[in-house]
């Protein structure tokens, strides 16, 4: 069954077209990777899917609903969770609190979405705290610990440390844990292994594979092609805002246009020379 359908979506910034009519389909439980040189428009595409940015043209359909232009908080409520390219943790919050924020949409207290009444009831529930509220809080803490435990000993000893004291790689892990805490239907990972060494990258690969095996649908932006080729059901290659190839990893790997985009041979496919990417 199709979970996400991106239908000729475009985004222009002034004179620059960052994303130029991209189509993309993600099946339930599938993993599609988006690769391409820096500046190809991958993150802009993610931003539009998760609601941080809105397309100038085209549609985004999640689960049969047209969700184009919906704000990110509503899309989070629909089960879209993401991580950010440069890492966005809440610096002064502890690791545990960072992860707990991920459960925001599932809290009893936030469930009432009526404009003014919702705010009042949320405030009242926080102050009065009927038994269900602390019970849920305790359960969520357990769940958050369990999610953090998936990263082994990397984060567990640091549950009460503020996120600003963490290493770069650990901040990425916190972000992923926070995204998982949302119990997402669709997970968007934007360069999850950036700044990680080989061992750490291998751990991340294992984690993503486990997530995929548990049935989670994943969109992945990644420069480490090894990882992409091992994990992906399909790979989409973007260059200069356009899709230049799509298909199973093995096919894409040998596509002349892709090689041109990565290695910068201007003779093939008319692509402009781009520096090769780390892989």
């Amino acid at each position: 069954m199709t979970l996400l359908k991106v239908d000729s979506v475009a985004r222009r910034f002034g004179g620059l077209t960052a994303v130029d009519g991209i189509d993309l389909v993600l099946e339930e439980g599938g993993l599609v990777s988006v690769i391409g040189p820096n500046g190809a428009g991958k993150t802009t595409l993610f931003n539009m899917i998760a609601g941080q940015d809105h397309p100038n043209a085209g549609r985004i359909v999640l689960d049969g609903h047209d969700v184009t232009g919906e704000p990110p908080e509503r899309l989070a409520g629909r089960g879209i969770a993401r991580t950010f390219q440069h890492g966005r943790v809440f610096a002064n919050l502890t690791v545990l609190d960072n992860v707990l924020i991920g459960a925001h949409t599932r809290l009893h207290a936030t469930r009432l979405r009526v404009p003014v009444v919702g705010a009042f009831s949320e405030l009242a529930l926080a102050l009065i705290r009927p038994p269900a509220i602390p019970r849920q809080e305790a359960a969520l803490r357990e769940e958050a610990r369990a999610i953090i435990a998936r990263f082994g000993e990397r984060l567990l000893p640091r549950l009460d440390h503020p996120a600003h004291s963490l290493s770069y790689a650990n901040r990425r892990r916190v972000e992923i844990a926070r995204a998982l805490m949302l119990r997402p239907r669709l997970l968007l990972l934007d360069e999850p292994t950036a700044g990680m060494n080989q061992t750490e990258t291998a751990e991340m690969l294992d984690l993503i594979r486990t997530l995929k095996e548990s049935g989670l649908s994943i969109l992945l932006i990644e420069h480490k092609l090894d990882l992409v080729m091992q994990l992906s059901d399909r790979v989409m290659v973007m260059d200069d805002g356009r899709k230049i190839a799509e298909g199973p990893p093995a096919t894409v790997r040998n596509d002349p246009g892709v090689i041109a985009a990565y290695l910068g041979s201007s003779a093939v496919g008319g692509a402009t020379p781009v520096p090769a990417l780390a892989s």
Partner: protein, 612 residues
């Protein structure tokens, strides 16, 4: 509506353009500074004040001719500008983004008070030796001072243009404004650029002050803050950091004010400015003349508030402290001590409100005095005009403040960072101006007198000790409630909004809802503080709760540690108590506040107890 006044619309137009020209000298300086350092210089009005008084002193005591006076003002204020850059900006490179803004507020307190201490609080007349003739233009007239102001405006604009266009340093300024990092990389000396920009901006600001003094033949120490506000409004209209926009925005502001005053009367003058400010911030935050809507830059995470580890105070110590404070009146019944502490508890309520909104939620409000005013007027009028019991009036005033405060802050919910501070500052001013002008409800400039004293179910509570206990009790109760809120999921949610609103939204947090909850609770607490104050003072007017109080509350919050409940109370006790300890007069008190704010930002930005 005074339609006959429109007959002389040409006079009002000329007047508006002249005033606009003066605003332009201010706004261009602010725009230059914002361009290179992304800082709203709240000390700009103080430089303008210094310029006015420097000119006045020269003309009065040294009898300098006007060109010499102007030259002295240019040099004096230019030097002052460089000093501000050296003290307020340079040492704070790399600290939280709010730090330099607060530093300039501290500097403005210090400068304003120094002027007031050396020249006195009374208004002064600025002598001017210009000839006394006027030319008729249509229905209006133009005098030599008008021409001089226009000429100085045009000449400075031309000189500035030439400087930015044709000199190497001017290029460096423009390069720094466009891309600071790239400019640094190319060997531009950022400190030199900043110092130059502050010198030019301050020289223009000082001349503006002198001209205003001559134009109205009146200067007083209170003109500083209004000037900063007008300059900021003009700049927001034109687009922050946009120099031609600042000139156009200033002229537009001058015209709108002048026409508005002609139609509605002079007490509405500032209302136009601030309503315009809010309208622009809500509808076109990038300014009227921005070439295109630019995408907001991706902020770094958690840079607005300095990272720190809060100091944990054991519960037993807090309980013991509260018990000691409750028993204090029995052990030391000195009225002076108890009154000072009562005042501290009322300020602590304000600081609690602000530490939730600015500290926990990251919406640095500079208009909190407006919330006090709403609470005070609501309770006073309910008790006086509706005959409600005092206790019920106070409680209801809390709810009214929560509702009105949240409603007023609503336009600021879409804004970020410094823009929130500007918008809330405007809202605080608007509250005062509405109180001043809505005579049928608020009694206008006369104020409300004969407000009934504190009582509960017929028991009078207006003696020193009962008042102390009531205020302490209210403060402790609301502090506990706020701690409970912070300990729930809401505390986490609000802090997430402060740390990174993009990531918070991606996790499903609706910013509008989170911010309204902060303002609802904070508005209630501030409203209670204002209401109790009204019943203690028995007389309030539109000037009882000035924006100085807003800044004082912010200083308390920073002193205690942003978002820190016990810190806010500690900050209030220290800042209310400290000046009492030295028996300082009002002027020295503000001077102390300014210096404390400056020292804190420089040496302990996380406050005494740390950010929570």
């Amino acid at each position: 509506m005074n339609l006959s006044a429109l007959a002389s619309w040409q006079d009002h137009t000329i007047n508006g353009l002249i005033i606009g020209n003066i605003y332009a000298l201010l706004a261009v300086g602010l725009a230059l500074i914002f361009g290179v350092s992304h800082l709203i210089n709240f000390a700009h009005g103080s430089v303008y004040l210094v310029g006015a008084y420097l000119g006045w002193a020269c003309a009065t005591y040294l009898h300098t001719p006007l060109p010499v006076t102007i030259l002295i003002v240019v040099i004096g204020c230019g030097a002052l500008g460089m000093l501000i850059e050296r003290v307020g900006l340079r040492p704070l490179a790399g600290s939280a983004r709010i730090a330099p803004l607060l530093a300039t507020i501290g500097i403005s307190f210090v400068l304003d008070q120094l002027v007031q201490l050396s020249a006195g609080a009374d208004p002064r007349a600025v002598p001017n030796d210009l000839p006394d003739w006027r030319i008729s233009v249509g229905n209006g007239t133009i005098g030599p001072l008008d021409l001089l102001i226009a000429a100085i405006g045009l000449a400075s604009a031309a000189a500035l243009f030439a400087f930015l266009r044709y000199t190497k340093l001017g290029w460096a300024v423009r390069a720094t404004a466009q891309d600071r990092d790239a400019a640094l990389q190319m060997g531009v000396d950022a400190n030199r650029v900043n110092a130059t920009v502050f010198a030019i901006a301050s020289a223009l600001g000082g001349v503006s002050g002198l001209l205003v003094g001559m134009y109205y033949n009146h200067i007083d120490p209170g003109m500083s803050f209004q000037a900063t506000l007008k300059g900021v409004v003009a700049q927001v209209i034109g687009g922050m950091g946009n120099i031609p926009g600042a000139v156009a925005g200033s002229l537009l502001l001058g015209l709108i004010e002048s026409w508005g005053v002609a139609l509605f009367g002079s007490s509405y003058r500032n209302l136009f400015a601030f309503v315009l400010l809010l309208a622009i911030l809500v509808l076109r935050p990038e300014g009227l003349f921005a070439r295109r809507r630019s995408v907001p830059p991706e902020p770094l995470t958690g840079t607005f508030i300095a990272p720190s580890r809060p100091l944990r105070i054991p519960r037993i110590a807090v309980t013991a402290g509260v018990a000691l404070l409750a028993l204090l009146p029995l052990a030391f019944p000195a009225p002076y001590l108890l009154q000072t502490l009562t005042s501290s508890w009322l300020y602590a309520l304000l600081a609690l409100s602000l530490t939730l909104i600015a500290g926990t939620t990251g919406q640095v409000s500079l208009g909190h005095a407006g919330l006090l005013a709403i609470g005070a007027y609501a309770s006073a009028l309910l008790a006086l005009d509706a005959g409600w019991p005092v206790a019920l009036s106070i409680l209801t005033a809390g709810f009214i403040t929560a509702a009105l405060g949240t409603g007023l802050a609503l336009p600021a919910f879409r804004l970020r960072g410094h823009y929130v501070s500007i918008a809330t500052l405007g809202m605080g001013e608007i509250v005062g101006l509405v109180i001043l002008n809505w005579e049928s409800l608020t009694r206008g400039p006369i104020g409300v007198s004969g407000i009934p004293p504190l009582e509960f179910m017929g028991f009078p509570l207006d003696d020193v000790k009962p008042t102390y206990w009531v205020t302490l009790g209210l403060m402790v109760a609301l502090a506990l409630l706020q701690s409970r809120l912070l300990g729930s999921h809401l505390g986490r949610t609000l802090r997430a909004v402060r740390e990174d609103d993009v990531a918070a939204r991606a996790s499903g947090i609706g910013l509008g809802r989170a911010k309204s909850i902060a303002f609802l609770f904070g508005g209630f607490v501030a409203g209670i503080s204002g209401a109790v104050t009204a019943h203690l003072y028995s007389y309030i007017n539109f000037e009882t709760f000035t924006s100085q109080i807003s800044v004082l509350a912010l200083t308390m919050v920073i002193l205690g540690g942003m978002g820190n409940v016990i810190g806010a109370i500690l900050g209030a006790v220290v800042l209310v108590g400290l000046p009492e300890l030295f028996r300082a007069t009002a002027e020295y008190r503000v001077l102390i506040y300014g210096i404390v704010l400056l020292l804190l930002i420089r040496f302990r930005p996380q406050g005494l107890l740390g950010t929570v």
